[in-house]
Structure formats: C-alpha cells, structure tokens
C-alpha cells in the first residue's frame, strides 16, 4: 500500500505529464500482479468497493471527532476524503496490508464491521497513506489523472498502440492479469466478444467564428445538437445493452428502450424522453436518470427513446473506418430493414453556406429551444476520443441578463480562501430576489478583485456566507430559464455563469423580474 500511496501523491502533485507517465510506467513494471491491476482499476475508476461509501466513512470519523469541528474542517479543506485523512485523531503501530489484500478486506467485511476495520486501517496508516486509503475506498480520486493517461502509460511501457488497448479495454475486468500478460508479450491479445461490449465514443470540438473561413461548407453535414444524454446501444447476439458515454451500463434504467429494439448493430445516439419522438426538456429526462430501476408510472409519462446519429457496427461488421456519408447510408438502410418504435434517425439539415446554417441555428434556438447544431465532416471515419477537425459543435449564443450580486460564499479546496460562489438576483419592485448561483466564468485575477470587493462591502455574515451591498452587477449568461417553485423569484436558470463583471453599471439598471418572462417563454429541448 505504501508504494501505491507514494504513486498517488506523486501523480497528484507533479505538474509534468511526462513525469507522471514515467511514474506510472515504473509502477506497472515493478509491482507484481494482482496489485498493479488493482491500482490500474483505481486509476481508471473501474474499482468499486461496494460497501464503502462516503457516508460510511463520515460515520466512522464522526464517532471519533466532534461533528461541528468536522463540518468546519470539511468546509475549509473542501474534499471529504482529504478531510478525513487529515483529521483522523489516532495513531497505531503496524503497517497497512498490500493493495490487493486491502481491497479484499474491504470487499469481504460486513457492513456492520466496516467502521471498525476502516478505523483500524486509518490508525495504522501514515498521513499520506490515509489519504490514499480514503481515495481508494471511495473511488473518487480527483488527482488530475485520466484513465487515458494510465492507458497511455501501458501503451508506452509495452509498445502496443493505445488504440488497441482502448479496443479491448471494456471487455476486461480487474485485476487485468490477461491484459498485463499481453502487454508483456507472455500471452496473446485478450479475446473479447466484439459486439457485446462498449466501444469508446467519438467526441466533438467547439467551433469558433474564425474556424469557418478555413472550412468548405460542402464538405460538411449538419444536425441539431440534441439536449439529452449521449448513449451507445449495443444490439448483440446475446442481447441489448445501453451504455452511457463513459461506458457505464444503464440498460436497467431504460427497459422501455432495450426491450423494444430489434436488429443487430452498435449505434450512437442521444437518449431523450417524450411521446411519439417528441423530445421533452432535459429536466424531464433527469427524472429518469440516476434510478437503478425504472418505475412503470414514469415509463408511461416519460417514455424514453434514442435519436440515432451514427453507426459503429452494421450487424457484425465494423464500419468505423468508413466515412460519415457511407456510415449514414448504412444506418438509413439498416432502419429500413429494422423498423423501430423506440429509435429514430437524427435528421440531416440541408443548408447552403455557413451564414445559412447560422440562421438555421438561431431559428432552432428561438423557436424550438435547440442547443445548437453539430457539424460533421462527410469523409470522417469514426475515431474514438476527440480527434481534431472531424466533428464540431456550434452552440447557440447564450441568453444574458444583468443581475445584482447578493451573497457570496467561500469556495472549496483551491478556492477555500476566496469568496467565489455567488448568488445574484433581479429587481422585483423595490427588492432584489435571487434567480441563481454561479461559481465560474471569471478569471483568477477577477476572482481576486471580487474577493476584495466582497470583503470590503459585506453587510452581514452567516457562517461561510456573506451578504453584500446590493451594488455590483454581473452579466450572467445561461442556457435557458424555467419556472421554479423552489426560488423566491419563481425562476431558475440552467447552466448560469458569470460572463462579465459590470463594475461600471449601477445596480438600478439591472434586470427586473418581468424581463425574465421572455426567457421562460422559450421551450427547452
């Protein structure tokens, strides 16, 4: 465990990507199975220690530490795992078991016994081991190391292409003995059932105005950018699976889709809810997300469907190397052969030049609340990751409103010494009512200025929150506004962020609640 703790600390603190890779390679080469495989699973977020959840850790620590002092500490440190590691008040003799044994222990201890076992481990660990232990137990690393970096280290240490590792990845399970054997040349490539697994997705890049000069509109096709969640449908010989964009299987939450599709293919599309393929808002979709089991009532009121826009496998055949145009033709033909009630095709938007598409984009946003358009190179193959120059997203311009800063709260972690979370509002008669909260959209320099302004203009303070003079105006950008019973103003903003700080603007000139009606009128999704 000591070795793993050292690795995590180095990864968390070393800014250099090269040095992180070196450390990972050294670890994978020098540490034996199964520990290195367990470490790999932790780094790629594939490790789930089922019974250890943040709540259990909190309970363990609160048995030893005053609750108020813990809360104040957590507020300062900002990271639950780190707070626990730093605040644990006991020290005992002994050493932590090796990584694989530790994971075994945590997985095979009953829920009732876990607090005692975890407490014992925390006491035995040195401080940075405690930190690693808590990170390991909760599975939330947040150390700035992506799964891709870990896989890149595997590629570099073995000479196997990263692409080839990604290909087999989702068919493998920790501790990855077969993967390491293959990478070290001791065994062949792991045998994976091609059709029954998740294939990494192709992602898009945002497009900027200056990019259009270099792009010929005739080389591109366009579709609406749908406001749901990205899914991959694997229609295999053994059955149908639906995966989220990160490869988590979400089939169980959406039996109304997976039980009602036919044909063989691997498809890429957007999960949406609504009757007769009439997509409803993202808010409605959210009611169906994060539920392990779907409820009949919800499936009736908010039936799910997938709007398909690409095809990775046509039957058994891998078509990813084909250009978009050919894949699209395959996809349309496949829909002809396999009539569907829960899948439809994302329509291709005809357009002349970029100005034409820009008008379409604005119209779609104004009349139907579309998020924007997707622009795809007609000849582009399907490449996992975020390749440059193939797919672009062109989001609609955000809505903006001038709002007045009302309250500020200290941030977390890196920002714990700054007032960085802002609540702002608009005029309702002679008072200001809150319409939202935002904590990004400004630069570090602006954050310093805001922090200074807030400290100098505080009129009251409640724990970590300060009330300030109602004098500073923010231009707030947001994607959409909805009616909300939760807010005093009756309005809630989706994805609000500070787009400009209007040091110059008097608060009297900020927006009024009536002004918000115009935004609420726009349908969402």
């Amino acid at each position: 465990m000591k070795r793993f703790a050292d690795l995590l600390e180095l990864l968390a603190l070393t800014p250099s990507r090269t040095r992180k890779l070196e450390a990972l390679k050294r670890y994978f080469v020098e540490v034996p199975d199964p520990d290195r495989g367990i470490a790999l699973a932790v780094l790629t977020s594939e490790m789930d220690i089922r019974n250890v959840k943040p709540a259990l850790l909190r309970e363990t620590v609160l048995a030893e530490v005053d609750e108020t002092l813990f809360a104040l500490s957590y507020d300062y440190v900002g990271d639950l795992g780190e707070t626990i590691a730093l605040i644990w008040p006991h020290k005992a003799e002994g050493e932590l078991p090796r990584l694989s044994e530790l994971v075994d222990l945590l997985n095979h201890t009953s829920k009732a016994e876990l607090p005692r076992v975890i407490g014992g481990l925390l006491s035995q660990a040195a401080i940075h081991e405690r930190w690693a232990l808590v990170k390991l137990a909760t599975g939330a690393l947040r150390i700035g190391v992506s799964a891709r970096l870990a896989k890149t280290a595997l590629a570099e240490m073995s000479g196997v292409e990263l692409q080839d590792i990604e290909e087999v990845w989702h068919g493998l399970k920790p501790p990855y003995a077969n993967l390491f054997a293959w990478l070290e040349g001791k065994a062949g490539r792991p045998d994976i059932d091609n059709a029954a697994r998740f294939h990494p997705l192709m992602l898009s890049n945002p497009i900027e105005d200056k990019d259009f000069e270099k792009l010929d509109p005739r080389d591109f096709s366009a579709e609406w950018k749908w406001d749901g969640i990205r899914v991959q449908l694997v229609l295999g010989a053994q059955g149908v699976s639906m995966f989220s964009r990160t490869g988590d299987e979400i089939s169980a939450s959406f039996p109304d889709v997976v039980d009602n599709v036919m044909g063989r293919a691997v498809l890429d599309g957007e999960l949406l809810v609504g009757h007769d393929f009439d997509a409803r808002s993202f808010n409605d979709l959210q009611q169906r997300l994060n539920r392990k089991v779907a409820q009949a009532k919800q499936m009736q009121e908010l039936p799910a469907f997938v709007r398909v826009y690409d095809m990775l496998f046509d039957g058994e055949e891998d078509v990813r190397a084909l250009g978009w145009e050919e894949r699209r033709a395959r996809l349309e033909a496949w829909f002809q052969r396999n009539p569907q009630t829960r899948l439809d095709l994302s329509e291709v938007l005809p357009f002349g030049d970029w100005d034409d598409l820009g008008r379409l984009r604005r119209q779609g946003a104004d009349e139907h609340g579309h998020e924007g358009v997707m622009i795809k190179l007609r000849t582009a193959p399907y490449v996992p990751g975020r390749p440059k120059g193939f797919w672009f997203k062109w989001k609609r311009d955000p809505n903006v409103v001038d709002a007045v800063l009302m309250y500020a709260q200290r941030g977390h972690g890196k920002r714990s010494s700054y007032y960085s979370d802002y609540t702002f509002g608009v005029w309702k008669g002679n008072e200001i009512v809150p319409i939202g909260k935002a904590y990004f959209g400004f630069t570090d320099e602006e954050l310093k200025q805001l922090d200074k302004w807030i400290r100098a203009n505080t009129t009251g303070s409640f724990g970590p929150v300060r009330e300030v003079k109602k004098e500073l105006v923010f231009e707030v950008a947001f994607d959409s506004a909805q009616k909300s019973g939760r807010h005093k103003s009756g309005v809630a903003l989706r994805f609000p962020r500070i787009s400009r700080i209007r040091w110059d603007k008097p608060a009297q000139e900020a927006a009024r609640l009536e002004d918000m009606d115009a935004f609420v009128g726009v349908p969402d999704g």
Binding site: L69, S73, T83, L86, S417
Partner: protein, 334 residues
C-alpha cells in the same frame, strides 16, 4: 471581566498603546517583525531588541519616531500598567505581550509555536486571565508533522534527482532561516543558495548569533553548477520567470498549509514540505488550557473552530475581527 485591560482592537487604555496596529499610532507594542504585525510610521515602538533590528532592516532606521527595546521577562511599568514580553517561539525576537493592570493579567500571544526551533527564542507558557490567541491553524485537520521528517523527505528527493535543483519557497523572514537551520542540523553542509530578497534578513540572523552556514546568492550561477543544489526563494519568485534559470527545478514550498493537497497544488508544489511556524490544533488547545485563562479571544485565521472548542471546555470565548492581519500568518501560502 467587566472592563478588560485591553480592548477588542488590542488597545491598552491605561498606557495609551496599541499592540500590532495596522495603522500608524503614537505608541505601538510590536510582537514580531512580520509585515502584518510590524508596520512603519508609528510614533514610538516598544519591542524586543531583535524585533527592532528586524524592523530597521526591513523598513529603514527611521521607520518609527522612537524605539524602545524591552528584553524578555523584563517588566516595564508605565502609569498604572506593567508590560512584560515573553518568547513566542515564532521567529527570532517574537514575543507574547503580558499586560498587568487593575489586578488582571492579559496575554496577547502574537504568532507562536511550541516546537523547538533554534532560530527563535523558545515559547514559554504565561498564566493569565484573558488570553488573546492566534488561530492560523485553528482546525483539527492541522496536525503538523515533525519538521525533521519533512527535511529528510527533501534530502531524499535531492539525492534521488541529482540532475535537478530543489527550490524551496519560504517566507523571507523566519521560515527561510528556520529551513536553513533544519537543513544544517540534518547534515546538509553544502552552500545554500538564496534569492536576493532573502539575503539581508539571513545576514541579520547571522549577525544576531543564529548559525546558518555558508550562504551564496543564487543569481549569476550557471545551470550546471546548480544541479543537485538547494535554493531558497520567496514563494512568488518560484512561480515567476526567476526560477527558469535553474535546471528542471523541483518546486518545494515550506508552509503549514502544505498538508492540504489542494493548497499544495495551488502553490504548484511538487514536493510540499509541511513546516510551520505556528501552533497546530493540538498545540493551540494545550496552550489555551495551560494559560489558565477564563476568557479567550481568538483572532487571525480560523476563529470559529477554536472559539467553539473553547466554549466546549467551559471557557468564555469570542472571535476578534482585527483589520489588516494576513490570513496566512506569514506562512507564505498566499
């Protein structure tokens, strides 16, 4: 305590003097030389001889109208009050201020630490009725490790990466000299290289009898010469172009904040060294209990938790909001 001998702005009415005032005053008692406690422009300054020397080096000989040096343990009675300074263990010359008047004893700790540090006169507990304590590290997450272990980690890293130089970000007054002394005591006998901002204060420490070994300016050295060397610089210089002159430097920051990973990352510390010149949580608790004070005023940092803890111990406690004090307590964490 109906009428404390000192008020909540650290003003002592009996002698018309302020302790560590943030604005120029006619009469000031200065606990130690850090910029958020010692400012220039006061009429008369009462402080330890070391603190006065530090102020003169930092702000100039005439940074106050008049200096009055007061040795530790030497009671000075002015009008109806007696002032005595006791070592605070924070930096060279740092003092706690005991005010005795009308049968009351009030202590202002200034910044303080209890761990032994040969660059500062060692802390002594002072019994009192009213304790005004700092709370820079006033949260139970702060459990400072043994600084010797931190220096050992540094030297291990130096040995493992002989082609790189190690840049230690330190506050120029106090922390820098302490880190140098710790390195010397751990057996590091090669020259230690200094950023220009460090030199005068290191020279002053040496002149006042603190042995720091051979110190050389870091500027003007070639990259090859600096491989495997240790450099001490202010934290800001390390993030600046200044550090580009060194071969692939390992950025180390020495501060009590470095136990928090996010703070270490914010300071761009590849090797964070948890070395603090303040009490950690446990030491604050012990100091409060040892003082025997029935009333505790808490300032300078994370007051909420310490006030809460005091109340749980049955003490009267309240936070003081003093203007101008540096939230990071001269730990250079920014």
């Amino acid at each position: 305590m109906d009428k404390p001998v000192i008020d909540r702005n650290l003003y002592v009415p009996a002698i018309d003097a302020w302790i560590d005032p943030s604005e120029p005053k006619a009469r000031a008692i200065i606990t130690h030389g850090h910029a958020d406690h010692a400012r220039s422009g006061h009429g008369a300054v009462l402080a330890t001889p070391d603190t006065i020397e530090i102020m003169k080096v930092r702000y100039g000989e005439d940074c106050a109208g008049r200096f009055e040096a007061l040795d530790f343990h030497d009671p000075l009675t002015i009008d109806g009050a007696t002032v005595t300074l006791f070592p605070a263990g924070h930096i060279l010359g740092s003092a706690q201020v005991l005010i005795e008047a009308e049968g009351q004893r009030a202590v202002v700790t200034g910044d303080y630490k209890r761990l032994r540090d040969r660059t500062a006169q060692p802390y002594e507990p002072v019994a009192c009725d009213l304790l005004i304590t700092e709370a820079t590290f006033g949260l139970p997450v702060f459990q400072h490790p043994d600084p010797k272990d931190e220096i050992a980690r540094l030297l291990k890293s130096v040995a493992a990466q002989p082609e790189r130089s190690h840049l230690i970000g330190c506050y120029a007054l106090g922390k820098a000299q302490r880190v140098i002394a710790l390195l010397r005591d751990a057996g590091w006998d090669r020259p230690i290289y200094l950023h220009g901002a460090m030199i005068r204060l290191c020279e002053l420490y040496q002149a006042l009898g603190v042995e720091l070994g051979e110190l050389l300016p870091a500027t003007g050295m070639g990259k090859a010469e600096m491989m495997g060397q240790i450099v001490i610089a202010p934290p800001a210089a390390i993030r600046d172009r200044w550090s580009r002159r060194f071969p692939d430097p390992v950025v180390c920051q020495a501060s009590g904040w470095m136990s928090v990973k996010q703070r270490a990352r914010q300071a761009l510390a590849e090797l964070p060294l948890v070395i603090s010149d303040h009490c950690d949580w446990g030491e604050l608790n012990v100091s409060i209990l040892e003082s025997g004070a029935e009333t505790v005023w808490v300032t300078h940092g994370r007051e909420d938790a310490l006030v809460y803890w005091c109340k749980k111990q049955g003490l009267k406690a309240e936070p003081l909001a003093l203007p101008g004090l540096d939230d990071d307590g001269g730990e250079g964490g920014e």
